[in-house]
């Protein structure tokens, strides 16, 4: 059983808390991604599973066994390092075979397993080379082959794609997921790259400053970020967040403008909240807001001025400064009419696309629909 369970796990380095009371269960056969900015504790969490860091408090289980006191070599795991950590003095064959040698697998079986792993990863012709004679992508494959050769309970991967160039990273991402589907082995995958997390993970766990922020399927996390940090971390460009005031159960006021709300905020502590709208959910409804005299009376939507237009080819990111001074990013398809800098605009969003967060704690405010 390749289940990995963290129960109230804390890791301290002196006074620094690297992982703070982490409780999460990785299911058997799951591709589980630990996502967060650098220094958030995701790598430390992974290294504790590997046994490379001691657990300060709490329990880590692999399968049904608590492994806090089990040395790495007895944990039945394999790890892929960011640097690949290939043994430079050994050939590719010896590198892949090393985990089998240390466990004294008989020679004939060893050869079969090595050749099988090499075949899966297309390394058949490179077995006699030294790591220094390989390209970055090939090295990465050797590291993967060394991990899969022994069929462990859990694969641990620490940013395995970050040393590849962008193109190779995209293709390897796809192959890695396919490989995991074939082997049906649990993967705990650490990354700071949200694209990797979104595309590869069955579930993702977002960490910040050592603490777990949210766990869930990628789409759920994207659709319903649990707090302001997750809202601003997931998505490129990230969600727009800005101060707003609840004026009625279904209306939010931002400066002179308003946004509609669906559902009722359950028991709001104060009417001052943080509102969030993803760039693709903002729609430019009037290109010349403010120029028509009668328009000022309409409060539906947000009023602002275009300050910058960035074209990415397939889409445009348009920055709009609201009358409150806040800058929002609007994501538009390339087919939309291009806006000119300095132009007054009115932005609208659908009620269910507006997220609300508590101003003090940043926690998502639930709404009864």
């Amino acid at each position: 059983m390749g289940r990995v369970a963290f129960t109230h796990v804390t890791k301290r380095f002196g006074d620094v808390v690297a992982v703070d009371d982490l409780t999460v269960v990785v299911n058997d056969g799951e591709f589980f991604v630990l996502l967060g900015p650098s220094g958030c504790g995701k790598s430390t969490a992974l290294r504790m599973v590997a046994g490379l860091e001691e657990v300060t408090e709490g329990v880590i289980e692999i399968g049904d066994r608590a492994v806090n006191r089990v040395p790495p070599k007895d944990r039945d795991i394999a790890m892929v390092f960011q640097s690949y950590a290939l043994y430079p003095h050994m050939t590719v064959r010896r590198n892949i075979e090393f985990p089998l040698r240390t466990r004294e697998v008989p020679r004939a079986e060893r050869n079969t397993l090595v050749e099988h792993a090499a075949e899966i990863l297309g390394l058949d012709t490179l077995l006699d080379r030294k790591p220094s004679q390989l390209s970055g992508g090939q090295r990465q494959r050797v590291a993967l082959a060394r991990a899969i050769v022994r069929q462990p309970e859990v694969f641990l991967m620490d940013e395995p794609l970050s040393n590849l160039d962008a193109k190779l990273r995209a293709s390897t991402r796809v192959e890695l997921v396919a490989l995991q589907r074939t082997l049906a082995t649990t993967v705990v995958y650490v990354t700071h790259d949200q694209v990797e997390a979104m595309t590869m993970g069955d579930r993702i766990a977002i960490m910040f400053e050592g603490a777990l922020q949210q766990v869930g399927a990628p789409q759920d996390v994207y659709d319903k970020p649990a707090n302001r940090f997750v809202a601003e971390f997931i998505g490129t460009p990230p969600m727009n967040t800005f101060a707003a005031r609840l004026v009625s159960p279904d209306t939010l006021a931002i400066g002179a403008g308003t946004l509609p709300l669906d559902g009722v905020v359950a028991d709001p502590a104060t009417s001052e909240v943080i509102a969030g709208v993803r760039p693709e959910h903002l729609v430019v409804t009037s290109n010349d807001a403010g120029s028509e005299p009668g328009d000022a009376a309409t409060t539906d939507g947000l009023v602002g001025t275009v300050t910058l237009v960035e074209s990415l080819g397939h889409e445009r990111h348009t920055r709009v400064r609201l009358d409150t001074g806040t800058e929002l990013v609007v994501r538009q398809p390339a087919s939309a009419v291009a806006l000119v800098v300095g132009r007054g605009v009115r932005l609208r969003a659908k009620a269910h696309d507006v997220h609300l967060y508590d101003q003090a704690s940043g926690i998502r405010l639930a709404r009864d629909v």
């Binding site: 590997a50 046994g51 490379l52 040395p71 790495p72 070599k73 944990r75 795991i77 394999a78 790890m79 390092f81 640097s83 950590a85 043994y87 430079p88 003095h89 090393f98 985990p99 240390t102 466990r103 030294k130 220094s132 060394r146 022994r150 641990l156």
Partner: protein
């Protein structure tokens, strides 16, 4: 083309200035290194007759005969054998102990820096000082331990004099050996050691399969540098045994000194020159070996 021509006088002036600044160093090196070095290759072809009172007679050309005489002499063979023994003991033991201490100090333990400082402290101790300390510890009459073997001290025993010299040498060189080995260990990426642990290797297996192979360039370097310094060992012999007892500790470097300056016998300076060239050849071979093989034992891309 024209530009280059315009610059020429300036460059000439600059080169002249460079040579002018090099001159003092060149003079010192010329007098104390280059001239004696060249002269040393001329000396073996001549023989100096014994002095007649205060009158020294002119040197006589003897050709290659003196070379073969010296190289076949028991004195030379004994000297070479002693030096070889000395090197074969001090170098491996020094490396092994240095590595042991380096591995111990490489652990991430509280207060380990104190031990690192202690382990590397002998770097600040000269071999002469180490010899004097050894003497004052082991001397059978005035020494702290008053070590007595047979009728005399450890340095007077034919069996134990050479090991005693080796002990002083290993102890004094241990600091450097420790530092070199520590640097070697630190150059091995932590990732590799961690990967090996995850791949199922225990502490000893990690050392045998990863640490040690990746340390070979360092070990090779330490072996060559250690051998060169052991072949040149002089001060510890001069201070503790003067080559005795019965030439049991008469190393090559000490023999050169003894033959040319102290013995006072005939044509000694010329004989010593052959010894010196012997030492030069050994060091030359080791140096070439170092330069040639350095790249081959290196795994770096």
């Amino acid at each position: 083309m024209r530009r280059r021509k315009e610059r020429q006088p300036y460059r000439l002036r600059e080169t002249g200035l460079a040579y002018l600044m090099l001159l003092p160093a060149m003079v010192v090196f010329g007098v104390f290194v280059f001239y004696p070095f060249a002269k040393n290759f001329q000396l073996p072809f001549f023989s100096q007759p014994p002095k007649f009172g205060a009158i020294s007679r002119p040197a006589r050309y003897v050709g290659w005969k003196q070379w073969s005489d010296v190289l076949q002499s028991n004195d030379f063979r004994n000297t070479l054998l002693v030096t070889l023994k000395f090197t074969l003991i001090t170098v491996p033991v020094g490396i092994a102990l240095g590595l042991l201490l380096a591995v111990a100090a490489h652990q991430k333990l509280r207060g380990i820096t104190v031990f690192r400082t202690i382990f590397s402290s002998t770097v600040a101790t000269s071999i002469a000082v180490a010899s004097v300390i050894f003497f004052s510890l082991t001397n059978p009459i005035v020494g702290f331990w008053q070590l007595r073997i047979g009728h005399g001290g450890i340095t007077e025993s034919p069996t134990w004099a050479l090991p005693a010299i080796c002990v002083v040498t290993v102890w004094q060189s241990l600091g450097l050996s420790f530092i070199v080995m520590s640097a070697g260990l630190q150059s091995i990426p932590d990732d590799l050691l961690e990967a090996a642990r995850v791949d199922g290797a225990g502490a000893f297996s990690v050392f045998r399969n990863v640490t040690f192979p990746l340390l070979t360039p360092t070990l090779f370097f330490a072996f060559v540098v250690g051998s060169i310094s052991s072949f040149q060992a002089f001060a510890q012999v001069d201070l503790l045994t003067q080559g005795g007892p019965l030439d049991h500790t008469r190393t090559l470097a000490y023999s050169i000194y003894k033959t040319s300056i102290e013995a006072g016998g005939p044509s000694d300076e010329n004989k010593a020159a052959v010894f010196a060239i012997g030492l030069f050849v050994v060091v030359l071979i080791l140096t070439v070996l170092q330069l040639r093989l350095e790249r081959r034992v290196n795994y770096a891309r």
